[in-house]
Symmetry: C2
């Protein structure tokens, strides 16, 4: 509530999340530990547990914070393909900076069930003329591919930065992969456009 003070005095949940975020960005999720966060904050290990109930909960909070770094879903006048492409590449770029986070998140029970993002995606595709079934499939396939790609990308560059240009070749892979996904979605969905009722 009060603006000033209470910064290096009292430990806050925000400070813990920020420290965790910084550590994952720097060293990757593989070497992330509760002891490391506490150490980063100059506090006893168990002190973090006053604000957070488990390691997984903390990583989940980091995931939520990170999820606000990428561009929001927007269906501009350049069509759903462009909007989806923009979103996926932005999401990829963000997760790239947190090695292992995407791989962790896709294995969590909450993955793909968060009502906010789920309904936002369904709305996005519905607005673009997809029916409910195709909208869900489009969302599922593109998210699964992207997170899978990120998990594969994280296999290199764990520990030290990637050699010879950070992820230039990786970026190419995603871009082409995303094109395959978008094309596949377009050609397998019945999209109600101003043109023909069925794609192709």
């Amino acid at each position: 509530m009060n603006r000033a003070s209470a910064r290096r005095d009292t430990l806050t949940l925000e400070a813990i999340i920020e420290a965790a975020q910084r550590l994952i960005r720097r060293d990757g999720l593989a070497s992330f530990s509760m002891r490391a966060v506490a150490n980063e904050l100059g506090v006893a290990t168990m002190t973090t547990y006053t604000h957070v109930s488990s390691k997984d909960e903390l990583i989940g909070l980091v995931q939520e914070a990170v999820s606000q770094e990428w561009a929001p879903i927007d269906l501009s006048d350049d069509g759903w393909e462009a909007g989806l492409r923009r979103f996926l590449l932005s999401q990829w770029e963000t997760y790239q900076r947190y090695p292992g986070l995407a791989g962790w998140y896709m294995q969590q029970p909450e993955f793909g069930t968060k009502p906010e993002s789920y309904s936002a995606w369904i709305a996005f595709f519905t607005k673009a003329g997809f029916n409910a079934r195709d909208a869900e499939l489009a969302w599922s396939v593109s998210q699964t591919y992207l997170m899978g790609r990120l998990a594969v990308d994280a296999r290199l560059g764990r520990g030290r930065p990637t050699r010879s240009g950070p992820g230039l070749r990786a970026r190419e892979y995603v871009e082409r992969g995303v094109e395959v996904i978008i094309t596949g979605i377009r050609e397998t969905s019945a999209i109600a456009t101003e043109g023909s009722p069925k794609g192709r």
Copy 2:
């Protein structure tokens, strides 16, 4: 070398791999430990290290053993789409039985670099009329999607068997997803068929 005896007497690498395989199939990779393998074999924990140099190496050997459970790549006369579909679903079914294994493997440095499987896939797509660039992309995208899907599938049913029919809904997801991938590959690749030089 000698046929009989040497079964419950001497510990063999094969027995260790089989025990590990059994444990991962039953409990998933998340709860898999070297102590659990040793316990399963009725042997001291460190005894396993006589035949294997690390936990990751052992999981890698399990992965190799498991990789021979699915149908081999075959380009029958029903086209690359049918061949790819058959292979991916067979691979999915196999990995489904080893929760967490696909998610682990896709994060390993070796993933996608094994010369045998890599060249077999390139040969598969080249034979179907793909150029080298499109062949590699097709292989990369389909493998990334499938492993990603398996990682997502593993998020439920960790610990105990899945409720209400094992993976019926999951199976639907992969089938539709694979269709999107195959269609995307077809429509973005320049395939030299007896018909037109460019797909669509």
